[in-house]
Structure formats: C-alpha cells, structure tokens
Amino acid sequence: MSGDPGGEDRNLEDYREYLRLLAQLQLDGRLKGKIDLSGVVQQTMLEAYQELPNYQLQDTDYLAAWLRRILANNLTDEIRKLKTGKRDLSRERSLDAALQQSSNRLQAWLAAGQSSPSGHLQRQEQALHLSRALAELPDAQREALVLRHFHDRSLAQIAQHLGRSHAAVAGLLKRGLQSLRNQLREWK
C-alpha cells in the first residue's frame, strides 16, 4: 500500500473507529478513563503506517488481523505501564483486579488473533461500517448499546453505571438504534 493519503492509505484510516471499539471491548469497564484509548489507537495507526510498506498483506482480513495484533500489543503495554508506574493504583484492589483481568483477556485475544482470519470481505466491511456508525452516536447512547449488546450487561447494571433510571436507559437504547437505522440501511 502506498503513502498516498488519497490512495490505498485511506483504507487504513477506515479502521480507526473499528480499533477504538475493539479496544473498548477488550478492557474491563473499571479501567474507563484510566487508559487513553484514543492515544492507544493513534499509536496503533502510526505503527501500522510505518510498518505497512514492509508487509504484503493479502486482503482486508489479514489487514484487520494485523491491526488487531498491533492494538493488542499496545493495550498490553498501557496496562503494564499502569501496573508498574502508578503504585497508588495498585493499592486499589478493584483496579488491580481490572488490570489483571484485562491483561489476561488481551493475552488470550492476542493468541486467538494468531489463527487464520475468520471473516470474509463483506463481514469485515460490515464491522467497519458499524464501528463508524456507532462512533457518530452521542456518548451515552453508544455506551448503553455497547454495554447491552457487546458486554451483555443487564438494564440494571447499565442504569447503575450511567447513573440513570431503567426507563432512561431504555430511551438511550431506543434512540441509539433509531439513529443507527438510517446509517445501516444499506446493509439490510
């Protein structure tokens, strides 16, 4: 792939929101705000741009797997820094557990990523499209949808997490899905 920002490199940029969402899904919710996800994704993109000319990536499946690998390594690095660099955090038992849980999950995810890619082009495009559509939503709507549909959280858990009533969370889910409807129409 070239360094032409208007050419094939544009495809790499298409993965930014996909990587951000995957990063969010890999981390324990208790680490929210403790790790700069945007920074991790930016670092991942920078490394990918630097390394991309050295690799002959066969198709978008391989590109996605390769990017996930870089992302997982960078997230692991961030967790390691948090563990070793901030001793005050390690005294907080729940945070310590969250760090360990996320670290273990990332190791397993990294191992899973070493296998052959599982999707084909249409599924990959679908994942990218949905990632970008979710990124366009207001924060509370996106968070409610991600917690419900990706983390399998109950309505009560989401309500507690967001500090809202059950009906208010239901409203967030409803409006989030409504907003996505038009953006996702082409995938029907």
Partner: protein, 89 residues
Amino acid sequence: MPSEANDSAARDRRVDEVIAAYLEAVDAGETPDPSEFIAKHGGLAEELAAFFADRDQFARLAEPLQAAAAIPDRARCVLIRGQNRSYHV
C-alpha cells in the same frame, strides 16, 4: 403546540417504560415474545415494533464485530510466553 409537545414527550416516556419492562423481563431469564408484548401495549404498537426491528437488525449487523472481539474457547487456555512483539500475520 406546547400541548402537542407535552403529549409527544409523555408518549416517548411511556414507550421507554414499556421497553424497560421488556428488557427487565429478559434479564430475569424470561423469554417474552415481542409480538405479544406489542399486542399487550397496542397503543404504542408502532414505536415498539420499530424498536424490536431496530434491535434485531443491530444484533445481526453486530455479529462480525462481536466475533472480532471474542476470544475462542481454545484461546482461553493459551499461555503467552514472553512479551516479544511480532507483527507477522
């Protein structure tokens, strides 16, 4: 006009409450039938039908992302040794 806006807001709140009741039932391990739920709340049928359709579409479209984020069972037992960074695919 303000009255219409108030009516609309009140209706929205009612829809949200009904959806919350449905989700609470799901979380409690029940398997409420959406069509029965819609029939039970006939006055809100249009909004509830739209919610269930949107939810089903989202669940279908989210599957590839869920698969990308998931950890296969076989990988849960894998112990990664060392911290070498390798970008080979």
